[in-house]
Amino acid sequence: MGKVIVITSGKGGVGKTTSTANLGTALAMISKKVVIIDADVGLRNLDVVMGLESRVVYTSMDVIEKRCELEKALVKDRRVEDLFLLAASQRNRKDDIKPEQMLDICERLKEIYDFVLVDSPAGIEQGFHNAAAGAEEAIIITTPDVSAIRDADRIIGLLQNQDIEPINLILNRLSPTLVKKGNMISKNDVLDILNIDLLGIVPEDPGVIASTNRGVPLVHNDGSPGADAYMRIARRMIGQRVPIPEMRDDNFFSNILKWFSRNK
């Protein structure tokens, strides 16, 4: 029996879809059977970020309205074993789907797959409730700024009311240089304020946009800081004890060098 995990944030544009694509791919790379579900009905994106848009034939709406079997609606990712996408309908609206229908899809998928990751839309309305309907666990994505953290707090409250547990945090787009300069809220302050467990930190990485544009999740090209972060998070999700590296200031060594050369 697998796990259904909703990936959500409250605020838009903080990295839910990027995280779903990369964690789904990373989990499949470490031999798990994975389905990623796009729950952003009407504004679907996960297929594009995954580079699978040209192969989507059916959507969750077709499954719900019985135009197609669930198995047949899953798009297989040919780059890794056992990774599938269930796309969202682009023509429908978020309230065309009911929570019970999402729950049913998730229940059936977790019989077969180890991980069912649900990419939630932004907001706290119907779309979010549908995305969370089948989930027993949640991953909150936030960026280190006041408005994203405020929305994350709101979402955590809603999820706790639905007895979703554990709720873990991914801190996205952290820039060590900005934290050092005192321009960004630090990891410890975020954790102290939200009071949930940290699953991982994903640094600001220009590779993310390039990978979205090419339709190849970052974790396919190892070596980038973002890919490394997502691989670590995936390992933590399967219960391995992988430490969360303390972020080193990129400019630490270059600063020291500059200082020495100036004082020569």
């Binding site: 700024d145 006041v146 953290i149 405020r150 707090d153 709101r154 955590i156 409250g157 706790q160 934290v179 005192g182 321009n183 960004m184 809220i185 630090s186 302050d189 304020i193 939200l194 009071n195 949930i196 600063n255 200082w259």
Partner: protein
Amino acid sequence: MNFKNIFTRKAKTSNIATQRLKLILTQDRFDVSDDSMQKLQVELTEVLAKYFEFTMNSVKMSLKRDGNSYVLMADFPFKQLKKSS
């Protein structure tokens, strides 16, 4: 290297952000207005002022999440206990 920060001790953006965030979340979580938090703070201070000597504007209040419930945290730094008359 920047030694200036160490000496000037200007309020950092990150500290301002953290303080603002704590205040906003306290209001969100309580679902109360800034006014009622202020009122609570004044009333609590009045009660405590019977026993402690402290300055009103050093008081800080916030809410911390603890599983399904919240903990009200209040810092009342005081100078000394008042002698009971």
